[in-house]
């Protein structure tokens, strides 16, 4: 027996589903996760190498272009991945629609602010002192 189509042909072509955003969030979470396997392990190893180090050693480390670029990428990926993950947690546990929306917006703004602050700090060390 043929199934009755529950979605319009245009809706099927868009492929965005009932949440109206398709699989974009899912893909972004996975791609940033793969990036963080590399960037996270690099950063963990770097932190271990600088355990108890003084400021001069950390500044010298971030003066190296490769370290600075990887640190910026790490911070960008961390906050992007965290914002995507926290959004799902909020969507699962906050049931009031307006509270859910405002919590997600606040979380996104805080994530963006922290990412910019962290990246600015890295660049300030990389370019200055």
């Amino acid at each position: 027996m043929a199934e009755a189509p529950l979605r319009t042909p245009l809706g099927r072509a868009f492929g965005l589903g009932s949440a109206k955003e398709g699989v974009q969030h899912w893909w972004a979470q996975r791609v940033s996760a793969v990036a963080l396997i590399v960037l996270g392990l690099w950063f963990a190893a770097s932190l271990i190498a600088h355990a108890g180090a003084d400021r001069a050693a950390v500044v010298a480390w971030l003066h190296e272009p490769l370290s600075a670029v990887l640190a910026v990428l790490m911070l960008a990926a961390v906050f992007y991945h965290a914002a995507l993950g926290l959004q799902v947690v909020i969507e699962d546990y906050v049931h009031s629609e307006w509270l859910k929306l405002s919590t997600i917006v606040a979380m996104r703004l805080i994530s963006l602010g922290l990412a910019v602050a962290g990246i600015f700090a890295v660049l300030r060390i990389a370019f200055g002192g």
Partner: protein, 129 residues
């Protein structure tokens, strides 16, 4: 706005504890813990960009008992989220869904994340001297 009072599915406490569900909750819990840790991560970068005294204050906090306990928690959270995240990526690729493999990969994640945490933490303490 009126919230619809819809029936909810049974809550967590009526289900039997099992490895699969504990690791699933653990993935979310460690993700939240790591998100909170990003506040301290940004503090560390800003302190390094600011002054010797600001960086010394940050380093002395992370070297204190409270700081070390938090670092141990974040180290375990990082390695667990990393290992279990790779397990999730394998599932996304369609691998490891049968029950035996799911449990084997689950126990592997537990063992590897604890081992990596111990190695990383001991290495950090050795480097710090």
């Amino acid at each position: 706005m009126t919230e619809a009072q819809r029936p909810l599915s049974p809550h967590l406490q009526i289900y039997k504890w099992q490895l699969t569900s504990v690791l699933s909750i653990g993935h979310r819990a460690t993700g939240i813990a790591l998100s909170i840790g990003t506040l301290f991560l940004v503090w560390w970068f800003i302190a390094a960009a600011t002054s010797d005294s600001a960086f010394a204050a940050a380093q002395s906090f992370f070297g204190s008992w409270l700081g070390l306990i938090l670092l141990l928690g974040w180290t375990l959270s990082f390695f667990f989220h990393l290992c279990n995240g790779i397990r999730h990526l394998c599932w996304d690729a369609g691998w490891g869904f049968d029950l035996r493999t799911t449990y084997a990969s689950g126990w592997t994640v537990v063992a590897v994340s604890i081992a990596l945490t111990l190695i990383a933490f001991i290495a950090g303490l050795v480097v710090r001297g």
